[in-house]
Subunit: 405 residues, 2 copies
Amino acid sequence: MAGLPQIAQPTRPDRIPPGTRDPSELLIFPVDDNAVTDRVHACYTCATFRTMLPAQRHPTMADVAERAGVSVSTVSRTLRGLSTVSDEARAKVEAAARELSFVISRQASSLVTGKTGTVAVLAPTLGSWFVGQVLRGLSEVLRDAGLDLKVYSVADLAERAAFFDQLPARRNADALLVISFDLTEEEFARLDGLGVPVVYVSQHAPGRASVYVEDVAAARGGTRYLRGLGHRRIAFVRAAPDSGFTCSSRTRLFGYREALAEAALPYDEDLVVATSRGRRATAEAVGQLLCLADPPTAVFAETDEIAIEVLSVLRSSGIAVPDRLSVLGFDDHDHAEWLDLTTIAQPAVEVGRASGTLAHTLIDDPTADATRHVVLPTHLIPRGTTGPVPQSAPEPKRESESAQP
Amino acid sequence: MAGLPQIAQPTRPDRIPPGTRDPSELLIFPVDDNAVTDRVHACYTCATFRTMLPAQRHPTMADVAERAGVSVSTVSRTLRGLSTVSDEARAKVEAAARELSFVISRQASSLVTGKTGTVAVLAPTLGSWFVGQVLRGLSEVLRDAGLDLKVYSVADLAERAAFFDQLPARRNADALLVISFDLTEEEFARLDGLGVPVVYVSQHAPGRASVYVEDVAAARGGTRYLRGLGHRRIAFVRAAPDSGFTCSSRTRLFGYREALAEAALPYDEDLVVATSRGRRATAEAVGQLLCLADPPTAVFAETDEIAIEVLSVLRSSGIAVPDRLSVLGFDDHDHAEWLDLTTIAQPAVEVGRASGTLAHTLIDDPTADATRHVVLPTHLIPRGTTGPVPQSAPEPKRESESAQP
DNA sequence: GTGAAAGCGCTAACAT
DNA sequence: ATGTTAGCGCTTTCAC
């Protein structure tokens, strides 16, 4: 692991305002505006505020018991809310615990109960909108259930392999939630043998507990909606498949194809393009579509984040939305409303909540149906980026061709 | 806690394709497109895929020792990488551990070492862009350090109070990271007595370990930049202060005021407006600014997310950016580039990395400087939403006043 | 209703 | 270099 950067020797200012707390005065380090390098500073004015506290031992149940004048067993029973404790003893224990700021050690109790009081979640990244929303719902439910939340993320294939090889969650969580992973059979098998319940989030895992929205039906509905506006040439922009982390591409593309088939529209592979993160890739993908002999009049993006990139590219190219090209997203990202993006909303927070609830159920009740599926609804939100197909499909106008009058 | 929703009785389709794995065929539940209610489904085709595995006991070190024909101590030493193990014994232990898929129980080892191998983080929400980026950097560093990451989030003031009352992280983590909280003195005091190192992230905590970007200098620089474009009436749009969760409003506003003062520009309270999440609040805030007798020619938004809302409102009002109004953000959110938003970039992922590194240092070395500050740089990225001040500050044009020629 | 004692799985000190 | 032993802080019998 990389160590901390070296401590830079701060140029001592002429006068150090003693004991000041105003943030503007505290920030007296020689930090250039717009500097390019990072550094570590000793904080002059801060150092006086606090002398190091001696590392103190956390109080244990024995401490509480002694103070309350009861046995450790009684403390344990009281704190777990068992009814076999007299009111008198309970009061004494609660008072003692409060006075000592006693907090139970999950490590110790888990050793004997076999429960860790923790739920682990595995996600491809912690930085995406969807994962963030799922975690929000999840943490809310787990907090109410008295469970802690541990997160594992794997950034690339090597880390992914390492995770499935070692399964660090194995003995250190009561359940594992896997968010939005396109798993191989081997990985499924590995998790099947994990020894704790596994809940698959945002994906349909055959024969295993899953929570997801009906991507296929939603994408079918979205494509039908575009068809209803008169569009016949509908493009699909998907995330780059190389990451291997998302399974929504597959399902949403499937729904798209179904809706085309319903209307006897051909599935044209030229209309399906992939983009990876970053504006360049999206610009290329969009360019590819617009250069087709028979270009699309509508674009269905796999996620709102992709749709927003597409909008951005279209705007800077001067292509009118929705007059010349309609754009449909998926997610109802916060920014979708602000950008007036038509999208298929999915209840991401609710997906998190349902996952947490399901995990909690499976933990508490080992006889619960471990193959239960929770399917959450989606709904289309028509906004301003979609409109009727242009009356006469115009030849794709290229700048070099259009002469000024 | 709310229970799981009732299992809906699925209408059995005419034919259940047996053993199929194609996702489209699996999704045979009566899920209406765009349905409004959620439900739980039993998955017909899935149930056949897997018979419940009996709950199996996790192998312990004793199991590994027995299989390897050595003592438990040797297993422990081997797995911890101590050098006092013969190659022969090491090989046998590693083989046995692998065969049994042994995973060490942190619970048990932490009981004796006093270390949990876990770092806890407290965040106001898990759904914001900044927190997500910080968590990305953090998890990367912690993974390399062999530490697990536990997250606590508090959604409202009641939960916040409960957290500081109980301090659930107390005995269950080796360090606590507090992200972007505006803490009271009482809360600081409570954390000072936590018994484990605390790192304050995205905030300057006097006398305590902190990692942050220099908000004051950055905001000063951003405001100077707008001044350099000729702007004299510069508005500041901040997040609603009622949440009490962010401390960036205070510091960034301070830098803004400093830059005004440098140029002897007056600080006009009418130019500082607050907005909460949601487009309506932003629309009102922007409206307030545009209705001023002497309206601003530039807007500095506390975050990119706010700036994007502002842009959206301006666009739908037909107010040209930057011709009539310049907009400056803060963060360099992913969407900022797509939207061509001028912004002050902060290295959010790097903030997470540095926090994790600092926490790791403080855990491993109790004598390390617990008041160390890491200050990371910011830089301004000029893009298309900022431009020179309009030549002659025009009277604010109101639709009712402008007559058609 | 309460306490004493055993032991969860591991590490650390000691003995060999 | 390896095995033996004594706990870490808690829960859980089992007596009382």
